[in-house]
C-alpha cells in the first residue's frame, strides 16, 4: 500500500452502459480493487450499472470508501447503486459535477459514452483555467480513447489547444498504471501551470 494515496479523494467517471465488452468491466473491477487497497476514497456518479456499478462493487467488496453523487431524477428512476451508503443527492447534473470536482483531488476517466466524455473534457477545461488542480488520468482500456487522443492532437496542430496543455492529462493502459500515476508526484513537465506562451 502506498502512503501517498491514502485518504486521497479521487473522482472516477465511467460508462453507465452494461452492454459493452467485458474487458472493460474486468478493468473497472480491477481498478476498484486497487483503489480500495491503496486507501483512496472514491467519488463517483452513484450509478449501479455499467462500469460505474462494477467499480463501486469492487470498492465495496474490498472494504474501500466510496461516495456517490447522483441527481435526484436519476435516484428517483432507481439508477442509484443500492449498496453505496454515502450518497449525495443533487438538484441537477450541473450541481452533481460541481460537487464531484470540489470534493476531488484527482480525476480518473474510464471508457464511457457522452456523459463520461463530457465530464472528462470539463475536468480538462477546468484544469486549464486553474479552477481544478490534480492529476487527470485516462484509462485507455482496449485503446478505447485512441481517437479522442488523436482529436486532441489535431486541436494542438490547429492551434486550438496549446502543446504545453497536453500535460493536463495522462493516458495509461492498465488499472495498475492508474495507481502509479496517482502516486507520482513528479508528473512530467508542469511548467504550463506557471507560464503560458504567447
Amino acid at each position: 500500500m502506498a502512503f501517498s494515496t491514502q485518504l486521497m479523494k479521487v473522482c472516477v467517471f465511467a460508462a453507465s452502459s452494461s452492454r459493452i465488452d467485458k474487458e472493460y468491466a474486468i478493468a473497472a473491477s480491477k481498478l476498484g480493487f486497487l483503489l480500495a487497497d491503496a486507501g483512496v476514497e472514491v467519488v463517483y456518479g452513484g450509478g449501479g450499472i455499467g462500469l460505474m456499478g462494477k467499480l463501486a462493487d469492487a470498492v465495496l467488496e474490498n472494504g474501500g470508501r466510496i461516495t456517490g453523487v447522483i441527481p435526484s431524477f436519476m435516484k428517483d428512476a432507481g439508477w442509484g447503486h443500492r449498496g453505496v451508503k454515502e450518497m449525495i443527492i443533487t438538484r441537477d447534473m450541473g450541481e452533481r459535477k460541481k460537487n464531484m470536482f470540489s470534493m476531488s483531488e484527482a480525476v480518473i476517466a474510464l471508457p464511457g459514452g457522452v456523459g463520461t466524455l463530457e465530464e472528462l473534457t470539463e475536468a480538462i477545461t477546468l484544469k486549464q483555467l486553474s479552477l481544478f488542480s490534480g492529476p487527470i488520468i485516462i484509462l485507455n482500456t482496449l485503446g478505447f480513447y485512441k481517437s479522442l487522443i488523436e482529436f486532441l492532437d489535431n486541436m494542438v496542430d490547429g492551434n486550438f489547444l496549446r502543446l504545453e496543455h497536453k500535460g493536463i492529462w495522462e493516458v495509461v493502459n492498465t488499472p495498475e498504471e492508474v495507481i502509479s500515476a496517482l502516486n507520482n508526484k513528479e508528473r512530467g513537465n508542469e511548467e504550463w501551470r506557471k507560464i503560458a506562451k504567447i
Binding site: 486553474s130 504550463w192 506557471k194 507560464i195 503560458a196 506562451k197 504567447i198
Partner: protein, 106 residues
C-alpha cells in the same frame, strides 16, 4: 484596485510615474495569470500611495507587449523612473513580488 494600462496610456501612466510601478502582463485565457491576479490586487491595496500597481492585457495591447518583448505570461515588470528595474516571469508566491517591490522603495 490595479489600474488598467494599454497601448494608449502606458507611457504616461507607467514611464512617467514618480513612484515605482508594477505592470502585470496577462491574458484571459492564461491559467497561471489567474493565480497571480489576486496577489497583484492585494499588493495594489497594501502599497497604495507608495507604488503604482497596473495590469496590461497583452491581447488588447499588442504594442506594449511587443515593445517589451513579452513572450510568456504572466510577466510582471517593475519600473522605476521610466526604466525596467526588475522582472518576474511565471506564477510565484506573493513574497517574491513583495521583496522585489520593497527593494525599489529603499
Amino acid at each position: 484596485m490595479a489600474l488598467e494600462v494599454n497601448d494608449g496610456n502606458f507611457d504616461d501612466v507607467v514611464l512617467k510615474s514618480d513612484k515605482p510601478v508594477i505592470v502585470d502582463f496577462w491574458a484571459e485565457w492564461c491559467g497561471p495569470c489567474r493565480m497571480v491576479a489576486p496577489i497583484i490586487e492585494e499588493i495594489s491595496k497594501e502599497y497604495e500611495g507608495k507604488a503604482l500597481v497596473t495590469k496590461c492585457d497583452v491581447d488588447s495591447s499588442p504594442g506594449v507587449a511587443a515593445k517589451f518583448s513579452i513572450r510568456n505570461i504572466p510577466t510582471i515588470l517593475f519600473f522605476k523612473d521610466g526604466k525596467i528595474a526588475d522582472k518576474q516571469v511565471g506564477a510565484v508566491p506573493k513574497s517574491t513580488f513583495v521583496n522585489k517591490l520593497n527593494a525599489l522603495l529603499q
